[in-house]
Symmetry: C2
């Protein structure tokens, strides 16, 4: 069983409009809703890969009920979200049908009380012993202390559960200092953490700051991994066009599933790159195209060197 | 007791953003939610004026539950909404804090089944006998026949209850033919109904088509009433600046409350104009400024002539 943590869950709403014209009124032609927040996206991909996955984090209000109803309908996903009194946030993606461009509106998220934060930490500690790995994903809602992920990383390590941290800004900086097994920043997040825009140098610096392994997402150019076992670069077979929404979450699911299956690093990376690419190629945002994944996974180029023992 | 009918209720969401830039991502700085749809707005104003009001129409899903929870918290409002299986629509107003401009996204509304439409008509017929007046407000959700309002007007007349119709397009055209006591179109709706852009001519034409009385909204210039009792023009004391959202619904509430109180036409019109103006002046969209209303109501200029008996 894998655990994903999404402290700032969301109801992701997509509105298609014929053409977005600011300061006018629009008839929405199509509405879709799905559970959102990075950890929930990761859980869906893990479940699609055949892994059992438990999701935790916060849920509240009418939006939280929709998230839970849709989530528990996914086979292989166990709902262990902790109820809070404020409502789960919405994100709204307005898709302009003329240009295909997306305009995003992200609500700030519910304010979590200290009692709710304590209840979550207890629930998390109770879940850890039965988990093969844990992923801590996304932003923090208001009210949750900025050092939250550092504490959750320490609890996972104390329980002997491998922990992946995927966040940004100050929560990432603090979390890294607690020595997570793996972080998966994009180049921007990595530069913010280390001050370096040079990916190789930045991944090495992030390791010095506490991360055991660093897998940097280089966007369409694939992944760069700096680990105690060695350094690798994994590149998709071709430059892909499509919707990058959720591609990073699919990469996290790829890394985490392969870690649990005890695959060697090159196989972990090719799975992550292929899943990420198959997400970009899928017609629906955040889904992945299984056929494309299976076709791509053998064609990811992985180059690198193993660290001398 | 007054009845307002809102077949296409909504959850009105307002998102404030620092500046709306299409095709980028925005952090929403403030979220507000309130029950929406013309008839619910009319009901809130009627309740604020001290009238008991029952609201009916359709409600469904998680959005419908939020609408009902907020609505029943308003003193003086009785919830008689009919449950449906599809979810109540959302409308999203994105307010650009830099310019104050609003970009509107309107979801299409739930599809109503014929069984649900029949259930509504029965509930409506049961409610009518205890009502002093009824207002039929707004657009029709998918699945409701285009002649819906015509049928509801006939049922109200058969029950001897005065009926006001506030809609547009084909539902207005059909509804007018069923001879409602009052319609309150704006100049655009009136032109679409009659083919005439000349308000006096158009109101007379609308009466020939079946409306007993026509009160045309001339925007910032007030109201023009053509009735069996006479013709009047009611003008606010000054040109007002503010948010016109809900001004038309406040005018409907003014006309309806004054009708139930059996006030003469000039008093009905000055109340409607003052409420409308006090809604434009209120800081929150759709609310009215009570002090402004009380100050304005005596200063509305009403000119006109009574029809010779």
């Amino acid at each position: 069983m894998i655990l994903t943590v999404t402290l700032n869950t969301a109801l992701d709403i997509t509105h298609r409009v014929p053409a977005l014209k600011p300061h006018t009124s629009h008839r929405v032609t199509q509405v879709t809703e799905r559970p959102g927040g990075k950890g929930l996206n990761v859980a869906r991909v893990l479940a699609a890969l055949g892994h059992e996955v438990t999701v935790t984090g916060f849920t509240g209000g009418a939006t939280g009920r929709i998230v839970q109803d849709q989530l528990t309908a996914v086979p292989g996903v166990v709902d262990a979200l902790v109820p809070v009194s404020a409502a789960t946030r919405r994100t709204i993606a307005v898709v302009d049908e003329q240009t295909g461009d997306t305009t995003q509106l992200n609500e700030p998220g519910p304010t979590i009380t200290s009692a709710e934060w304590s209840a979550f930490q207890e629930a998390y500690e109770d879940l850890l012993p039965s988990m093969a790995a844990v992923a801590l994903c996304g932003s923090l809602p208001p009210g949750v202390p900025v050092g939250a992920y550092a504490g959750l990383v320490r609890l996972a390590k104390a329980a002997g559960v491998p922990v992946l941290l995927d966040t940004s800004g100050e929560p990432l900086r603090r979390g890294v200092a607690a020595r997570p097994d793996l972080i998966k920043p994009n180049t921007e997040e990595l530069a913010e953490l280390t001050g370096s825009h040079e990916p190789l140098r930045a991944t090495q610096d992030a390791r010095r700051r506490g991360a055991r392994a660093v897998v940097a997402s280089l966007g369409t150019e694939g992944l760069l991994a700096t680990t105690p076992e060695g350094r690798w670069r994994a590149t998709p077979p071709a430059r892909l066009h499509g919707n990058p929404t959720g591609a990073g979450d699919s990469a996290v699911a790829g890394l985490l599933s392969a870690l649990v299956e005890q695959l060697p690093w090159p196989d972990r990376l090719s799975r992550a790159v292929a899943l990420s690419a198959a997400t970009v190629l899928a017609p629906a945002a955040g889904e992945f195209d299984r056929e494309a994944y299976e076709e791509l996974v053998g064609r990811v180029a992985v180059t690198g060197e193993v660290t001398a023992a």
